[in-house]
């Protein structure tokens, strides 16, 4: 094992980089979409209308109880069928595109829980103060509660994003080529697993570590306002 053969990394760097780009794209899409949908779900869960509460609670609990791999696979297989039922023609959407959708929908469940505790971390008095100024519900949420909830939860949101970034590797189940998938495919073909896994570990570590430092930085930034 002392004879590391890193030529395989160099030869296939283009493929790896392409995979990394896909990983980043899925992460960003799922983060933005997930936070958006998650916030709506959190508001539904905290609303006083029971059907909305039930829907949001069901959504969150179901997605949080099922392994992501299974969801990825199921969506990949089932989504085209649903589309076919709606449009009446076969519409294979492709592994890469399916992942964007699946991750957004799945992560929304996690982001929603984070946003919910963020909203709850804003003192009740802030809501009362918003209403007392004459704000409507929407204005109170948009101008008063959500900006604070978002700031309070920014570190946690980012931490979840780090997890998401790592979880994108699960798209191997449907054969899409993310960073991990690219590494895996090259490993299967060229048989340099130790070198490849070491490289993968280093790349993930560097990116995630940088992100987690960003979390720390943000934490101290936010501390000034409080």
């Amino acid at each position: 094992m002392s004879d590391f053969d890193f030529s395989v990394i160099i030869e296939n760097w283009g493929f790896l980089a392409q995979g990394l780009r896909y990983t980043v794209q899925v992460t960003l899409t799922a983060m933005l979409g997930g936070i958006l949908i998650g916030t709506v779900l959190a508001l539904m869960r905290l609303s006083s209308i029971p059907p909305l509460q039930w829907f949001a609670a069901g959504y969150v609990n179901i997605f949080r109880s099922v392994p992501l791999v299974q969801v990825i696979l199921a969506f990949y297989l089932i989504l085209p069928m649903v589309l076919q039922m709606i449009t009446g023609q076969q519409m294979p959407i492709g592994a890469a595109n399916s992942a964007y959708f699946t991750f957004t929908v799945f992560e929304a469940a996690y982001y929603s829980e984070i946003m919910r505790s963020g909203i709850q971390s804003v003192p009740r008095g802030q809501v009362a103060a918003g209403y007392a100024m004459g704000f409507t519900y929407g204005q109170t949420m948009r101008l008063v509660v959500l900006p604070q909830a978002f700031r309070n939860m920014l570190p946690v949101l980012l931490t979840q994003t780090i997890i998401l970034f790592q979880d994108v590797s699960l798209v191997y189940a449907i054969g899409a080529t993310d960073f991990f998938g690219a590494a895996d495919k090259i490993t299967q073909r060229d048989l340099r697993p130790v070198e490849m896994y070491t490289t993968v570990a280093v790349v993930y570590f560097v990116i995630c570590f940088a992100l987690s430092r960003l979390v720390k930085l943000l934490q101290s930034r936010i501390a000034i306002i409080r």
Partner: protein, 247 residues
């Protein structure tokens, strides 16, 4: 879609004389074993690390921080691969040989998954301890309790209560994460899932059954910890969450 449904295949015999549902049950057993054992490792180590990171001792904090940085920022499957293939080559030959030939694979799986999850538990335990007012520690010390006793009797009991909801998610996650241990040769549920797909190609039936099995495990864990949460709830005290928020 011309899929050939066949729910009865679960009761058909496999080539090793068992039935397919036996495979699933055995996989379920391994999944539960690996998950619970890893959870135990993660709780013990994670709590220790979480406590270390809240002490006034700089070097303890540094060790705890470094641990979390490393183990949280590398995907689990890569970590397991490292434990399985790379670590035995880095230690002296005799130990390496022992790791390869005598050490049961399930130990590697439990250590790998446990150490990975410990980083997350450590974060939560730290957050829980830090969410207590500093006065709680001061009050413990002022009564003459030692630093360790204030952790043991005052700070940790409350910290656990506060982070129990977050830990519940982690405990549910561990079942899902345990699926990755098939990569180090554990014959758990996900392994059997792949195995059965290869054998029978009844992809949809088995996917549905296995998904439900994971769901059931996570759900059981959720109920169990909800029960613990209820049992340990302190009368008269509102811990986070509930009650706040939007009208």
């Amino acid at each position: 879609m011309d899929y050939h449904w066949d729910w009865l295949f679960f009761f058909r015999e496999t080539d090793d004389g068992l039935k397919y549902y036996d495979w699933i049950l055995s996989g379920l057993g391994w999944t539960t074993l690996v998950s619970l054992a890893s959870l135990a490792v993660a709780l013990a180590l994670g709590s220790a690390l979480g406590v270390m990171r809240t002490t006034p001792k700089r070097w303890l904090v540094a060790i705890g921080d470094a641990y979390v940085d490393v183990f949280r920022n590398i995907p689990l499957i890569v970590q397991l691969f490292m434990w399985f293939f790379v670590v035995p080559e880095l230690v002296p030959d005799s130990i390496g040989m022992w790791m390869k030939q005598d050490l049961p694979y399930v130990v590697i799986a439990v250590v790998g998954l446990g150490l990975y999850t410990a980083a997350r538990i450590a974060e939560q335990v730290k957050a829980g301890i830090n969410s207590l007012s500093r006065g709680q520690r001061d009050a413990g010390l002022a009564l003459g309790l030692t630093e360790w006793q204030t952790y043991r009797h005052v700070r940790l009991p409350m910290a656990y209560r506060i982070v129990l909801p977050a830990m519940t998610s982690e405990a549910m996650n561990i079942f899902k994460n345990s699926a990755v241990t098939y990569a180090v040769g554990i014959l758990e549920l996900y392994f059997q899932y792949k195995q059965i797909i290869e054998k029978t190609s009844q992809v949809l039936e088995i996917t549905i059954v296995v998904t439900l099995a994971y769901f059931a495990l996570a759900f059981l864990m959720n109920r169990l910890l909800a029960f613990v949460e209820r049992r340990t709830r302190v009368p008269g005290l509102i811990v986070g969450g509930k009650g706040g928020g939007v009208p």
